[in-house]
C-alpha cells in the first residue's frame, strides 16, 4: 500500500486535471510539465486548497478525501506547502515563524522555541532566531521557510517551484540544502518545478504532465535519458520522434514517425513491426548540410530552419521536422543559416536509440 495514494481530479475550464499518484514513504517525486499544464493544481488538490470533482486521497493510512464524505480540513491534513515566495509571517521573528507549526499543534511556547532553534541550526541559520524576515536575504528566507515547513513534521511536503525566485548563486545552495535535509528527515515530497536540474538532483521519480494528464512517469534517470513524451524530451534536452515500426535490419529498427520521416536506429529491446516506438537522440548528433548528402546515409531528412536559439555549447537549430541540431556559431556562419533556409539533416543510426512507446 503506497504511503500517498491519490486519484483526485478537478475539472478546469479547458481540460480536466487528473494525475494519479502513488508515492512511497520517503520518496521525492518531481512533477514536470509546461506552463498551464496543471502542476500547481495537483499540489492544491493534495493540500486541500482546491476541491476535487472526483477521486480520493489517502496519506499515511488516513483517508483525507473521498467522494461523498466531508474532506479533512487543511489544518488537519499534515501536509506542508512551500512556494517560490517564502511567505514568512512578517510580524513574527524567524524563530517564531518556525515555531508556528509546532505551537499550532499544541506544543508549549518554550519547547517550540527550542525545536525551532534546532531546526534553524540545521539550516545553517544559527542565532538568527530573533531576526525579522525583512532583515533576512532571499536565500535565508527560503531556508527559514523550509525550516518552518519541516518543523511542523508533515506527513507530506509539497514544494511549488521552491527555487524559482532565487538568484543564480543562491539557487544551488538551497537545492543542495533541500537534498540533504529531505533525505535526512525522510520527508515524503512532491516537487513541482520547471528546472530539470531540480528534478535531476532531488527527485527519485519524475511525473511529466501535459494538459492535465500524465504523459510520462518513472524513475528520474529513465525519464531523463529515455523520455517518452515531447515535453520530457524537451526538458531533457534530447530529440524525440514517435511512430510505428515499419521494418528492421541487422540490429536496427526503422520507425516511420508521425511526421512521415523514416528513422533508423538501434533497438533497445525486441520490437515487432507495427509496434509503437520512440526514437531518442541528442541534438549534438545531428549533422546539418546545405544540400543533399552523397552516399545517402540511413537517416537523411530535408528540412527548413524554423528557429535559432542559444544553447549551452553554441546554437540550437530547430527545424520543420521537429528535430533540433546543436552547431557551433562558426558552423552557422559557414552554412549561412537563417530562418527559412533549406537544409539536409543526417544522423548516424548508431546515435539513435529506439524504445517501445
Amino acid at each position: 500500500m503506497s504511503y500517498l495514494r491519490s486519484d483526485l481530479a478537478v475539472q478546469r475550464s479547458e481540460f480536466t486535471v487528473d494525475v494519479p499518484l502513488a508515492v512511497e514513504r520517503g520518496e521525492v517525486v518531481a512533477l514536470l510539465g509546461p506552463n498551464g499544464a496543471g502542476k500547481s493544481t495537483v499540489l492544491h488538490l493534495l493540500a486541500g486548497l482546491l476541491g476535487p470533482t472526483s477521486g480520493s486521497l489517502e496519506l499515511a493510512g488516513r483517508v483525507l478525501s473521498a467522494p461523498g464524505a466531508r474532506p479533512v480540513p487543511v489544518p488537519e491534513r499534515r501536509i506542508g506547502l512551500m512556494s517560490q515566495d517564502p511567505l514568512l509571517f512578517p510580524h513574527l521573528s524567524a524563530g517564531d515563524n518556525v515555531a508556528f507549526g509546532p505551537r499550532s499543534r499544541g506544543m508549549g511556547k518554550a519547547n517550540a522555541r527550542v525545536a525551532a532553534a534546532e531546526e534553524l541550526a540545521r539550516m545553517g541559520l544559527d542565532g538568527m532566531a530573533d531576526r525579522k524576515p525583512v532583515q533576512l536575504s532571499g536565500g535565508q528566507r527560503q531556508r527559514v521557510a523550509l525550516a518552518r515547513a519541516l518543523a511542523a513534521d508533515p506527513d507530506l511536503l509539497l514544494l511549488d517551484e521552491p527555487l524559482g525566485a532565487l538568484d543564480v548563486q543562491t539557487a544551488p545552495e538551497i537545492r543542495q540544502l533541500l537534498r540533504t535535509r529531505l533525505a535526512a528527515a525522510g520527508t515524503t515530497t512532491v516537487l513541482v518545478t520547471h528546472d530539470v536540474l531540480d528534478a535531476a538532483v532531488l527527485a527519485d521519480r519524475i511525473v511529466v504532465i501535459d494538459r492535465g494528464a500524465m504523459v510520462d512517469e518513472g524513475p528520474a534517470t529513465r525519464v531523463l535519458s529515455a523520455p517518452r513524451s515531447p515535453f520530457s524530451a524537451h526538458i531533457a534536452g534530447v530529440n524525440l520522434l514517435v511512430g510505428d515500426v515499419v521494418g528492421s535490419g541487422e540490429g536496427t529498427v526503422t520507425v516511420r514517425s508521425g511526421n512521415e520521416i523514416l528513422v533508423t536506429g538501434v533497438a533497445i529491446s525486441g520490437l515487432a513491426t507495427g509496434a509503437a516506438a520512440a526514437a531518442v537522440f541528442r541534438p549534438s548528433a545531428v549533422a546539418v548540410y546545405p544540400a543533399e548528402v552523397a552516399g545517402s546515409p540511413r537517416n537523411h531528412w530535408p528540412a527548413t530552419v524554423v528557429g535559432l536559439e542559444p544553447a549551452a555549447d553554441g546554437v540550437r537549430v530547430r527545424t520543420s521536422v521537429g528535430v533540433a541540431a546543436d552547431l557551433t556559431p562558426a558552423a552557422i556562419a559557414e552554412l549561412g543559416l537563417t530562418i527559412g533556409a533549406r537544409v539536409h539533416l543526417a544522423v548516424k543510426a548508431t546515435e539513435i536509440r529506439i524504445h517501445p512507446h
Binding site: P75, L87, G101, R105
Partner: protein, 280 residues
C-alpha cells in the same frame, strides 16, 4: 531672465521637478481651498477669551459634557470593534453579488445625513416604534437615555471602522492565512495570530477614526437621545445648546469647541495621514 519660483519657495532655491509640473493658475484655487479650511478655525481660536478659558473648560457644564462624550465615545468604539471586526472580515473574504449588497448596506449610514439615522433609530426603538413597543411593555426604555447616545454613535461610526478595516484586510490578502492553515493552525488561531496582527496599523487607524466620528456625532444623537444634562448632553450637543440658546454660556460652547479641536489635532498625530494609499 531669472525663472520665477512658485509661491512659498525662498528666492534663489532650485525648483523641484514636481513643483515645476503644477500649472501656475492652479495655485490660487489651492490657496483659497486651504484658506477655507484654516481661516474659520483661526477665527474661532482668536475669539477665545484665553483668560476665561481655563474657568470655562473646568466649569461643571463643560466637564460634564466632556465626561459624557468620553464615556459614550469609548463605549461606542468598543461596540464598533466587537461588531465591526467580524463584519469587516466577512466583507473582505466574500465576493460576488451578496458582498456588493452587503457593502452598500454598510456604507448607507455614511452617506445618509445623521439626522435621518436618528429618526430611523427612534422609529425602531421609540415608544411608538416597531421594536420599541415591545421593549417599553417590558419596561426597557432606550430612547433619550445614555444607552441611546452609544447606539447613535455606534450607528454612525461603525461604517468608518468596517470599510476602513475591510480595505486593510483585502490589501493584506489571504496568502499568509493559507500558509498558516497548512502549518496546522485552526480558524481561530489563524484569526488571532495572523489575520489581526497583520492589519495592526490598519486596525489602529480604523479605531481612532471610529472614535473621532463617535465623539463628533450630533444629528442622530440629538433626535434619538435628546439633550439632557448629564445623561445625553455630549460635547457637540452642549456646544449647540450653549451657543444658540443661552446668553451666558457661549464661552462654554467656545471652550468645548476648543477642546474638540485639540482632540482632533491629537487624533491626526496618531493617524498621521500619508500621501498615497495611507492605511497599509
Amino acid at each position: 531672465m531669472r525663472a520665477t519660483s512658485p509661491p512659498g519657495h525662498a528666492a534663489g532655491t532650485r525648483t523641484s521637478p514636481a513643483a515645476a509640473a503644477v500649472p501656475r493658475s492652479l495655485y490660487l484655487p489651492a490657496v483659497i481651498g486651504v484658506g477655507l479650511l484654516v481661516l474659520p478655525l483661526l477665527a474661532l481660536l482668536l475669539k477665545i477669551d484665553w483668560a476665561e478659558l481655563p474657568e470655562a473648560i473646568t466649569s461643571p457644564a463643560a466637564l460634564n459634557a466632556l465626561k459624557l462624550s468620553l464615556i459614550t465615545g469609548v463605549a461606542a468604539t468598543l461596540a464598533c470593534l466587537v461588531l465591526g471586526i467580524p463584519l469587516a472580515l466577512v466583507l473582505a473574504r466574500s465576493s460576488g453579488q451578496w458582498s456588493r449588497v452587503l457593502r452598500a448596506l454598510v456604507t448607507l449610514p455614511l452617506v445618509l445625513p445623521p439626522m435621518v439615522g436618528g429618526i430611523a433609530l427612534l422609529y425602531l426603538f421609540g415608544r411608538q416604534g416597531k421594536l420599541g413597543g415591545y421593549l417599553f411593555a417590558l419596561g426597557i426604555r432606550i430612547p433619550f437615555t445614555t444607552v441611546a447616545v452609544v447606539i447613535a454613535q455606534t450607528f454612525v461610526a461603525l461604517p468608518f471602522l468596517v470599510l476602513s478595516l475591510e480595505g486593510s484586510l483585502r490589501t493584506a490578502g489571504t496568502r499568509y492565512e493559507t500558509v498558516a492553515a497548512t502549518l496546522g493552525a485552526g480558524r481561530w488561531t489563524v484569526f488571532r495570530r495572523i489575520t489581526l496582527p497583520l492589519v495592526g496599523p490598519g486596525l489602529l487607524a480604523a479605531t481612532v477614526l471610529c472614535f473621532a466620528r463617535a465623539l463628533g456625532e450630533f444629528g442622530a444623537t440629538a433626535l434619538f437621545a435628546g439633550n439632557a444634562f448629564g445623561v445625553t448632553r455630549t460635547m457637540p450637543l452642549a456646544i449647540y445648546i450653549y451657543f444658540t440658546a443661552s446668553l451666558e454660556d457661549q464661552q462654554t460652547a467656545i471652550a468645548l469647541s476648543f477642546l474638540l479641536i485639540v482632540v482632533a489635532a491629537a487624533i491626526l498625530l496618531v493617524l498621521r495621514p500619508r500621501p498615497a494609499e495611507g492605511i497599509r
